[in-house]
Assembly symmetry: C2
Homo-oligomer: 157 residues x 2
DNA sequence: GTAGGTCTTCAAGTAACTTGAGGTTCAAGA
DNA sequence: TCTTGAACCTCAAGTTACTTGAAGACCTAC
């Protein structure tokens, strides 16, 4: 009776139940306590852990990267500098993604807006505005650099 | 001699060459012109198309979603309203992601900063700050809602 | 003309889930 | 107390989106 079951944890963290079982299987989260019938029970720290995991996964950080971040979060006695460096690298990658995402957002917003005014009703023939969406970003290297970062992060386990 | 080869397109868009071949195979990009020896040649519009594709993929939009967006970008005569609606849905999803990413960025930044001051040198024992990273976001539903959106977008082909 | 880097196809491998089958558990209502 | 239906269990197979490898062809530069 203490703690929530897998379905509750799932809805609270925006994860599917099978995914949670999968994470347990690969050891990304610790094996959950079972009650008599064998059903898993979870507590608040499981919500926290899984939230962190999902947030990272949502933005393309590979499981192995997430695993090391989670490990740092769990063992507080470990080298603080190591944690900081890992977090800093993570942060840089996140910022690169943030930048790219803003570019995408602006292009889309501009597209929707011009759609609104251009073809107010019928099928407009001059709706080539999407071309704008596809222009390589100002520096023309941001995308590939973000890729680089991601790949580098992946490489170092 | 006209146009660039696959390696050039790859570096310009931050894509691997095999991925480009794969995209051609599944029909996400049109079959490239070949020169005598059978090697693919690309032009500027290929850079644009692939940039758009990669930008969308980078943020988790499934291939089939990207396919329809690209299709809209190619056929300008098509229903403008349809394009707008699709783009608008896309935009909402992007904004949700943007919000989540900002939360992640701030948590990471705060973590790095407090690491800086707390353990300026040796291994600090009180480095439990990572717990902060894992707190469910303010509304406690943002993450799952973003998931919802993504799933809905995926569902409608 | 030959060396090496880049290209070709095709097949198999990988990551991170997702879905399905077939059965068990549990809380709630009759 | 019994029963029924939703939610759980395990295990296996399927899916998406690539990635890697093998074995060979091409092409530019010396």
């Amino acid at each position: 009776m203490p703690g929530m079951k897998i379905g509750d944890l799932a809805t609270r963290t925006g994860t599917n139940a099978p995914t949670i079982r999968y994470y347990e299987e690969i050891g990304l989260i610790p094996r959950a306590d079972r009650q008599d019938g064998g059903q898993r029970r979870y507590g608040d720290e499981d919500v926290k852990r899984l939230t962190l995991i999902r947030r990272c996964r949502e933005f393309g950080f590979p499981i192995e990267q997430v695993r090391s971040l989670v490990a740092l979060a769990e063992e507080p006695g470990r080298s603080c500098l190591e944690a900081r460096d890992l977090a800093r690298e993570h942060l840089m990658a996140v910022r690169a993604k943030l930048h790219e995402l803003k570019v995408l957002e602006q292009s889309l917003a501009r597209f929707v807006a011009s759609c609104e005014t251009a073809c107010a009703g019928g099928p407009g023939p001059d709706c080539t505005i999407l071309g704008d969406l596809a222009t390589p970003s100002s520096q023309a290297r941001t995308l590939s650099e973000a890729g680089q970062t991601a790949r580098r992060l992946r490489a170092r386990r």
